[in-house]
Symmetry: C2
């Protein structure tokens, strides 16, 4: 293969595929990026067996396609080399069977290549009718749920997010069994076949880094053992987690004894300050007590000190409660609610706490209380 390409254009696309290379991969070929130059343009692919990323630079963005062909080269090295080259036209050329030259006006690099035939075959097939989501909607869905999934490999199913689609209702759930996040969306079109899959959360976080906050479309192609996201010039594939996700629908009550309405920022800041006098060993426990419209949030570490925060709320139901919960979980649940006012829905000191965005009925955050009273 031989081509001439502007440094900035190649760099932009290397920035995408480099995220598919994990630094600690012990299989050398998985530290490589595959280049495939055709008359239509240049494809770059990376994979670490968990995710695969493919990107395309179309022919019109390439200065000169001299000779089509494939090569497989160390991802880290080609990334760093192109990154440090000046923004001018660079020439990439296979000079022997196993060496490529990368050169610009003053620089000339030669890199040993790997055998193209050893690179894993990545099947990036597509569905006829992919599910369409707006980029912003998808990013929001990720931010509002993924943090609640578990990081403990002892229950692998909970280390992913559950994506369920029935007709045109999409439901995304994450839980680590102490808290739960659920977002429900209505799709424009009904799906051909209902969906119920678990996507590893760490892969979703990688996808999120590639999603630019634009008003763009993302195509979701769902298969038995993988999901493919297509957007801009990028194809992102993640494996799925095998197994049955727990049925969480009965966890969320429909009726509540107590409804508190409170400003999001004010509540967040009070919890954030109270969390200063908590520690991990005690599950970052803080207490919340109502006295009609006055809420007191408190915590303490005996050897250090204590804190009391007061806020005015609208105690719609006029009932009082005292309840304890993890400040860390509460802060994470509040972080992406993205509204002015929230509702705290309570049924008693040992019953789940529900947090809702008043403007978005599709979003539910649930936290289990901690017994201290």
């Amino acid at each position: 293969m031989k081509l001439e390409i502007k440094q900035a254009i190649l760099m932009e696309h290397l920035n995408y595929v480099i995220k598919g290379i994990s630094s600690k991969n012990l299989i050398p070929i998985l530290n490589c990026i595959k280049f495939e130059l055709t008359n239509n343009g240049l494809f770059l692919t990376s994979t670490n067996n968990d995710i695969s990323i493919k990107t395309f630079i179309k022919e019109s963005k390439i200065e000169k396609i001299v000779k089509c062909g494939d090569m497989v080269v160390s991802g880290r090295y080609i990334y760093d080399i192109v990154r440090k080259l000046p923004n001018e036209i660079i020439l990439i050329e296979e000079i022997f069977d196993s060496t490529i030259a990368i050169s610009s006006s003053n620089s000339s690099f030669k890199l040993n290549c790997n055998n193209v035939s050893e690179y894993p075959n990545i099947d990036l097939e597509e569905n006829k009718n992919p599910i369409l989501l707006n980029t912003k909607v998808l990013k929001n869905l990720i931010h509002q749920t993924v943090f609640a999934s578990s990081t403990q490999e002892s229950r692998p199913i909970l280390t992913g997010i559950n994506l369920k689609i029935v007709d045109n209702l999409l439901e995304c759930t994450a839980t680590d069994s102490y808290r739960l996040s659920k977002k429900v969306l209505t799709l424009k079109d009904k799906v051909d076949e209902n969906v119920n899959i678990i996507i590893p959360s760490k892969n979703i976080n990688e996808l999120n880094k590639l999603l630019v906050d634009e008003n763009n479309q993302v195509e979701l192609h769902i298969f038995n053992n993988k999901i493919i996201f297509k957007f801009n010039d990028i194809i992102f594939m993640s494996r799925l987690i095998n197994g049955t996700y727990p049925d969480t629908s009965k966890l969320i009550p429909n009726d509540f004894k107590i409804t508190l309405k409170v400003g999001l920022n004010e509540f967040y800041d009070a919890i954030d300050r109270a969390s200063l006098l908590t520690n991990e060993a005690d599950k970052n426990t803080i207490k919340l007590e109502t006295n009609q419209n006055l809420v007191t949030i408190s915590s303490n570490i005996p050897e250090i000190g204590n804190v009391e925060e007061k806020i005015e709320v609208n105690n719609v139901t006029k009932e009082d409660i005292h309840i304890s919960f993890s400040s860390k979980y509460m802060l994470e649940a509040l972080r992406y609610l993205d509204c002015e006012e929230i509702e705290l829905l309570l049924n008693g000191e040992v019953k789940p706490i529900i947090i809702k965005n008043i403007e978005d009925d599709g979003l539910i955050q649930l936290i289990l209380p901690i017994r201290t009273y």
Copy 2:
């Protein structure tokens, strides 16, 4: 003690003293900040036995001084609490012998205090005639020398920078025995007594974080076992390293066989790219070869590949050379030269390489070559 003070003002000064608290200090009292409230204002002090920092908030910047007094309180906790409080007036008050209250409109913290009498006595005496330096000049001096000092505790003397003042000539030197940085400055006034001290480099780096890039004066007060820097409302004290710094004056030759003049950025970028194909195990070795006005910089890692960079230079002496050196050391020497063009002065492949800023005769960077030819 009892006072009212704006959050932003207290925060600014806590930001200074927090740098004097090291996170891994095993002596609990050294994790504390001492507050001393007098009718003139509030003093804050921190120390970790290696450095001490004291800052002063004058009375006019404090809302209300209700009751003078001292307290000693956990630095990390008071810092985080004040940082998370809203920017309004906060009240700090000793409520029992060993508890203080920190409160703003909605928040009320109580922190246990330590015994004031247990806090180390820090003697921040002053000289009658301190040495005066401009902040920018001092920051520059630090950037251009401190990186060359050693990080290996096996030769403690080399883990500091050597500050020598004879009459009105200030000379600052750092070396790890493979490279050396030296900066010479002329002071406005002669010093009363000649100076020859070694300041720990890690303390100098902490000082540097506190020095704001302003056209301000810094006072240097030098004693047998400590140095005190006074600037703005801050007093920064560092211990000195005991011992005799090696005489480095004979290391730097006066005459050179070869003089190369080259653009700093161009040279830096070429070395930076060539360094991609080096590794630590091989001391990041790169080669430089001249052919009259053409310089070739090259390096290779056999299993990965190789690189050649070409640059035009002005080979003043018309003699040619090939020489090898550490790209890491060269990049660090070039980083703060702060000029358009530099001079490389050479005497042969096993003789020191001297790098000079053409516009600043007081600055010398020296790197020992690595024998590869």
